[in-house]
């Protein structure tokens, strides 16, 4: 009953191959794990740097220009060049990829957090002050929560971009699924390249949906208002806060 060995989809080098999925299951799982690890650590690192930068830019207005300028310049540098510039500092390591990707996420995150904080209605901050909130309590319980929708818009774009850009890390051997694409290119292994590419897009879509869910959980007040008459107004306001991210091109 078994077909002669040369006539399976691996030997024919088909694009879609069930045997590939079966026989290389472990390799694929390892690559997905590395991909997730690289992407998530980079976005987390980016967030840890971006939040203080955005708060600084808001507190001391004169720093806003330089902060946005420098992050934009960083964003202009192509990914292959970025990883290469970090080579003397980090060598061929996963840290190099994580730091490079984190630097990219900065511009999206800082812009959107800043836009979110600027979009907090004056009535809300005045009410908080009137109730006797100190600056720190006001920031943590009023301003930051209200900035979540705009910040999450930036975080989602930064995460989706990071998933795609991680593949370029293959140049230093830490590209997650990019490693499989790179190896597949050199051996003309179609099933491997297609499978890894599709998995990349899947990871991006799943993370995007998870962040969308997290945003819903973090902003329960928006859910209850969604069905009321202010819907049109509310949605337009959201579009305005999401605009800064849309104005930035994708990175390759």
């Amino acid at each position: 009953m078994t077909a002669p060995p040369p006539d399976d989809c691996l030997a024919r080098n088909d694009w879609i191959c069930g045997d590939y999925l079966r026989t290389r299951q472990q390799i694929l799982l390892d690559a997905v794990a590395q991909h997730l690890q690289l992407t998530l650590s980079s976005v987390a690192l980016g967030l840890v740097i971006a939040v203080p930068l955005a708060l600084l830019a808001r507190r001391r207005r004169w720093t806003a220009g330089p902060v946005l300028g420098i992050t934009t310049v960083i964003y202009t540098i192509p990914s292959l060049a970025m990883f290469s510039l970090l080579l003397p500092v980090y060598g061929l390591s996963a840290t190099l990829v994580v730091v490079g990707l984190a630097l990219y996420s900065l511009t999206l995150l800082v812009r959107n957090i800043l836009a979110g904080l600027d979009g907090v209605p004056a009535e809300a901050t005045e009410a908080a002050r009137g109730m006797g909130y100190g600056p720190m309590r006001q920031l943590l319980t009023v301003e930051l929560p209200l900035a979540v929708p705009a910040a999450m818009a930036g975080l989602r774009i930064a995460t989706v971009s990071a998933v795609a850009l991680t593949t370029v890390g293959a140049i230093v051997g830490y590209g997650g699924l990019g490693n499989l694409i790179y190896a597949g290119m050199n051996s003309f292994f179609k099933a491997q390249v297609l499978t890894a590419s599709v998995l990349c897009v899947l990871i991006a879509v799943v993370l995007d949906l998870l962040l969308l869910g997290a945003e819903r959980l973090l902003t329960p007040w928006r859910r209850t208002h969604r069905r009321t008459r202010v819907r049109g107004v509310r949605r337009r306001a959201t579009a305005a806060t999401e605009e800064p991210a849309a104005a930035v091109g994708r990175r390759a």
Binding site: P88, I171, G184, M185, V205
Partner: protein, 224 residues
């Protein structure tokens, strides 16, 4: 410090600038690839965007295209196209991938520019008896031009970056200096190549910045 010195000496060695693998030749390839793809993608995207914007149709497509495209890795598309039968036709897989990724920013910005034209101005022009084509050419396109230019700027800077990745799939351009450096395990060459690529990308951004600042008011969008 020694790395910096080594990078400097790589950049100042005349032999690294001449010949088939020299900087000048790679730069020329990079410039040609970037501009050819920019022209090609503009020829495809702008007529579509201006038509859709004028008619006020297909907005969801024009705006969402850029977001969907973000999830697709450029490197994956480059390799996928290389492995298709197209891969036998020299530079074409690279050109197609670059054009595909340059279309969304052009399309989105030009479309939004057309839709944001003050509707009172459009009604006034119609009231003066302008035909659809006159309206597009004399009113809508001039008013939408600043955003069209922003789209071209984003696409151009992005093309410089994408053209660098073309080196990974055997294409030309400055990226080849970096990949060759990795193959030779020469950190100075890798960093020197990266510096050249970064400078080129920043110069492209700066050139557009200059055009947008120095140009007459209607190009900058000052009227609005």
């Amino acid at each position: 410090m020694s790395t910096l010195a080594a990078v400097w000496s790589w950049l100042t060695t005349a032999a690294n600038w001449s010949g088939e693998n020299g900087v000048w030749h790679r730069l020329e390839q990079h410039v040609v690839l970037t501009f050819a793809c920019l022209v090609l993608s503009a020829l495809i995207a702008l007529p579509v965007a201006l038509t859709l914007g004028h008619l006020g149709r297909g907005g969801a497509l024009a705006v969402n295209l850029a977001n969907v495209g973000r999830a697709v890795p450029t490197f994956a598309v480059l390799v996928l196209l290389l492995l298709t039968p197209l891969g036998r036709y020299g530079q074409w897989p690279t050109i197609i991938a670059l054009v595909l990724f340059a279309i969304p920013p052009l399309l989105t910005n030009a479309y939004v520019g057309m839709r944001e034209v003050d509707q009172n101005v459009v009604r006034a022009a119609r009231g003066m008896g302008m035909t659809g084509l006159q309206l597009v050419r004399r009113v809508e396109v001039p008013l939408a031009f600043p955003l069209v230019l922003t789209g071209i700027r984003i696409a151009a800077v992005q093309l410089v970056a994408t053209a660098t990745l073309a080196a990974l799939v055997g294409g030309g351009g400055l990226g080849r200096i970096i990949t060759a450096g990795f193959n030779l395990a020469s950190t100075p060459q890798v960093v020197a190549g990266a510096v050249l690529v970064a400078v080129f990308a920043l110069l492209m951004e700066a050139a557009f910045e200059l055009v947008q600042r120095r140009a007459p008011g209607w190009v900058r969008g000052q009227a609005r």
